[in-house]
């Protein structure tokens, strides 16, 4: 007779601290030779082209911490503005050991493993509701993650037997998304935000978290946001469980969801604490 030792016998994943890198701790940009610190920058100054503008550009690069600033190109682009391409050397190294990288905690799993893991954990499909919320009319990213076709040869969540996907499309009010998540007892909510002008996405994303809180659903879903300007750190600060930036493949999101759900399942015992 098997007698497990109860819910506290759970897998513990490391506490998220970045493991200290084995390679050199201090790094500089790599141009022509290692650690030469050479960087290329481009920017525009609202100053008419000329000696003064070039000096201003060099000064701007110095303020960025670049030494030996050189102006490779200075072009008048109208309205008394000048466009610059410059090169300079960064002298202060980046200390790798002092960095903490915010990344969702997951390993890449293949489709079969994801399906198996979820089947073992939930014994039913994981319900994912996705939407581009608020004013956002862009569904390209959302579709790429959710729709069967996926993108770049990586199939979307619909192609996994372990996911039940509801794609609500674009310009979905947060209220409708929350109502749908409640109706379907969603396990995960995927929000796509592409429009970031004037930080509309920030207000919209926090509003969604607050709505979920008010509805008592925040604890019950894995809340994920994706978009070209989204980083994981930003997502966490906004109150999300994970954030996915550009280049994310459906498999990444599927891997994360499967592992996060499995982890929460194991921890169910902790919920009553």
């Amino acid at each position: 007779m098997e007698t497990g030792i109860g819910h506290r016998n759970c897998q513990v994943t490391s506490g998220g601290r970045a493991s200290s890198a084995p390679h050199s701790d201090l790094v500089l940009p790599y141009g022509d030779e290692l650690n030469d610190g050479l960087m290329q920058v481009s920017f525009t100054l609202p100053v008419a082209a000329g000696a003064l503008a070039e000096e201003a550009a060099r000064q701007a690069m110095k303020l960025m911490g670049l030494e030996d600033p050189q102006v490779a190109e200075a072009a008048a682009i109208g309205n008394n503005a000048t466009f610059f391409i410059g090169y300079g050397r960064l002298t202060r190294p980046v200390e790798l050991s002092k960095l903490r990288v915010a990344k969702p905690m997951w390993q890449e799993l293949d489709q079969g493993t994801i399906n198996r893991l979820l089947q073992e954990t939930l014994a039913r499909p994981l319900v994912v509701v996705g939407a581009a919320t608020g004013q956002d009319a862009h569904t390209l990213g959302l579709d790429a993650i959710l729709n069967y076709k996926g993108f770049a040869g990586n199939r979307g969540l619909e192609a996994y037997s372990a996911f039940k996907v509801v794609n609500m499309g674009s310009q979905v009010p947060n209220e409708s998304l929350v109502a749908k998540a409640r109706e379907l007892t969603a396990d995960a909510i995927l929000v796509s935000q592409v429009v970031t002008e004037r930080n509309v996405h920030l207000a919209n994303l926090t509003n969604l978290v607050e709505l979920l809180e008010a509805e008592g659903l925040r604890d019950k879903v894995v809340l994920v946001v994706g978009g070209p300007r989204i980083t994981h750190a930003l997502a966490v600060e906004l109150g999300y469980d994970a954030g996915f930036g550009p280049g994310t493949r459906p498999q990444d999101v599927a891997s994360y969801l499967a592992q996060e759900i499995a982890r929460r399942h194991v921890e169910l015992g902790h919920l009553h604490e």
Binding site: M1, I5, G6, R8, N9, V12, R124
Partner: protein, 566 residues
């Protein structure tokens, strides 16, 4: 298998016995287990010889404290009474290591007691810090006096731009540095004096030294703790087992559960070995006994194993905890399930909403719990272990398959394990297809089990199909259904729309119950009774439909059609 399960139940019973005698003590024990933190990560770090972080060390300190407190409690009941799951002694040295000089609530801090040199560094740093504060405060007071402006705790001060003279003066003071300007104010920050600058340098060095010494303490401590690893691991394992045992006991208490009696299937025969062979001899459809024979006799035949020592699965007063809670929450009374199964195949019939599916899942749940070593939510249970339990899934949507197709695909699973002893729970197979073919298929499936099962499986099948039990000549169980007085359809006693919606001042009503469900709940008798094989299947569908508020005109028409058809 039966033996180890029996052993597990012995332990559980012992724990429950102790619990009854010492309820307060157990409450405390649960509280302690609750406060336990998962130590596995800390243990694996120790195994690898790594340095533990303060948080991991706290978890170990907590583990030690829990062990100490649990042992103390077990002492009070007499440790000898704990046949297993006693928590090993011998953690005191580790506990002392983790919390020198501390008792009571576990805490972890890299205290001065670990290292005299660390204590000295900390003392010095604190001293220098105070000196720095005094130095800066002196400076701040001088500036405040000279300018008449308050300097904040962070050493910053703001001067309104309108106070020109003051501003000029501030700008000339060597003690101040201008930091920023806003629309209305210029901000200054107090510059450290030369002494303060020196102190800052010293403080930085001291801080680095302190951190290094603290890390050293953690390293040493981790090294020392590694020597206690075996006992820490044993304690962790024991607490885990205890936690599991008590969780099972807690569940048993919460559901007022009973220890099941486990028999060896066919054990009554006495010849012992070859379970499958035995069963085949005794339980298979007896030679010459045609299952169809009893159909017209009206007498309940006893197909199957007449010579067996008694029913193969007895369940008395069983309940499904989730359904029970749901019934309680709406203020209803729950009718437990009692059933005795002594045939390979048994059929359950009953009206819609009559709890056939609940009865089926209750049997499944009780068997599963018993096999997992859990006390069973019933008054009495006796059964033999199964190799597998199959519960035919309900109307779950499988993409690309109709519900009927999904059902068929699923049914292939238990059929593929024909050589094993299974508890096969079937819920209205064929409901998704046309009735005559559905019925034929269902009958054939059950017949197949009757004819081919060699392992002694138990198949329970719910159905609406009239005469299925009789066709097969197997035991027939029926839900009593709606009380007779409720059955008068045209009778005014029948469910009227709006009944249950009556609500009085100061009271509450729920629209949930306003739709006739409440009426059904109150009038439905969920008791399972064994009936003759060809006892007609209750035809309560129309009553149920009426109770649920379907238009009376439709019900009337249905009654007419039904009359014609019947």
């Amino acid at each position: 298998m039966e033996q180890s399960l029996g052993h597990e139940f012995d332990r559980l019973e012992a724990a429950l016995g102790l619990w009854r005698k010492n309820p307060d003590l157990f409450t405390e024990m649960l509280g302690i287990l609750e406060s336990l933190k998962d130590p596995l990560h800390a243990i694996s770090l120790l195994q690898e010889g790594q340095v533990l972080s303060p948080a991991e060390l706290f978890i170990l300190a907590n583990l030690c404290a829990c062990v100490r407190r649990i042992r103390h409690l077990q002492d009070q009941t007499g440790i000898s009474k704990w046949p297993a799951n006693t928590v090993p002694p011998g953690l005191e040295p580790a506990e002392v290591l983790l919390a020198p000089g501390s008792q009571g609530q576990p805490r972890f801090y890299i205290s001065d007691a670990y290292s005299a040199s660390l204590a000295e560094t900390r003392r010095l740093r604190k001293h220098k810090q105070e000196m720095w504060h005094r130095e800066m405060a002196k400076q701040a007071r001088a500036v405040e006096t000279a300018l008449g402006v308050r300097i904040s705790g962070t050493g910053e001060m703001a001067i309104r731009k309108t106070g020109r003279a003051q501003l000029e003066k501030a700008r000339l003071m060597p003690e101040l540095g201008e930091t920023r300007q806003t629309l209305s104010h210029v901000y200054f920050k107090l510059k450290p004096t030369r002494d303060a600058v020196n102190l800052e340098t010293e403080l930085n060095l001291l801080k680095a030294k302190q951190r290094a010494q603290e890390t050293e303490v953690l390293r040493e401590l981790s090294g020392k703790l590694k020597q206690h690893l075996p006992v820490v691991e044993a304690a962790s394992q024991a607490l885990g087992e205890l936690d599991f045992l008590l969780s099972k006991a807690e569940l048993a208490r919460a559901t007022d559960a009973t220890r099941p009696e486990i028999i060896r299937p066919g054990a009554g025969d006495g010849s012992g070995s070859g379970k499958a062979g035995l069963s085949a001899k005794h339980r298979g459809p007896g030679e010459g006994l045609s299952p169809g024979k009893g159909m017209d006799s009206g007498i309940q035949p006893e197909p199957g194993r007449n010579s067996s020592p008694g029913p193969d699965l007895i369940l008395q007063g069983a309940f499904h905890p989730i359904v029970l809670n749901e019934v309680k929450s709406r203020g209803g009374t729950y009718q437990p399930v009692s059933i005795e199964l002594d045939s390979i195949v048994s059929v359950i019939t009953g009206p819609n909403m009559g709890g056939k599916t609940v009865a089926l899942s209750t049997v499944g749940l009780c068997v599963a719990m018993a096999q997992w070593g859990l006390m069973v939510p019933c008054n009495y249970m006796k059964f033999g272990l199964y190799d597998f339990i199959y519960f035919q899934p309900g109307e779950e949507q499988t993409p690309g398959l109709s519900s009927f197709a999904a059902e068929i695909v699923s049914l292939k699973q238990p059929l593929a394990r024909a050589g094993e002893r299974g508890l096969v729970l079937l819920d209205e197979v064929g409901r998704g297809t046309n009735p005559s073919q559905g019925r034929a298929l269902y009958a054939a499936l059950l017949q197949y089990y009757l004819e081919n099962d060699t392992a002694g499986s138990t198949v329970i099948a719910t159905t609406h199909y009239h005469g299925l039990a009789a066709t097969l000549g197997v035991p027939h169980w029926q839900v009593r259904g709606l009380a007779t007085e409720a059955l008068g359809l045209k009778d005014s006693k029948g469910p009227e729309a709006g009944e249950g919606a009556g609500w009085s001042e100061g009271s509450e009503r729920t629209e949930l119950a306003g739709d006739g469900l409440d009426w059904l709940y109150r009038h439905m008798d969920y008791t399972l009774q064994k009936v003759g094989p060809d006892t007609p299947t209750p035809q309560d569908a129309l009553v149920v439909a009426k109770a649920l508020g379907l238009d009376a005109a439709i019900i009337d028409k249905a009654l007419k059609f039904h009359g014609r058809g019947g």
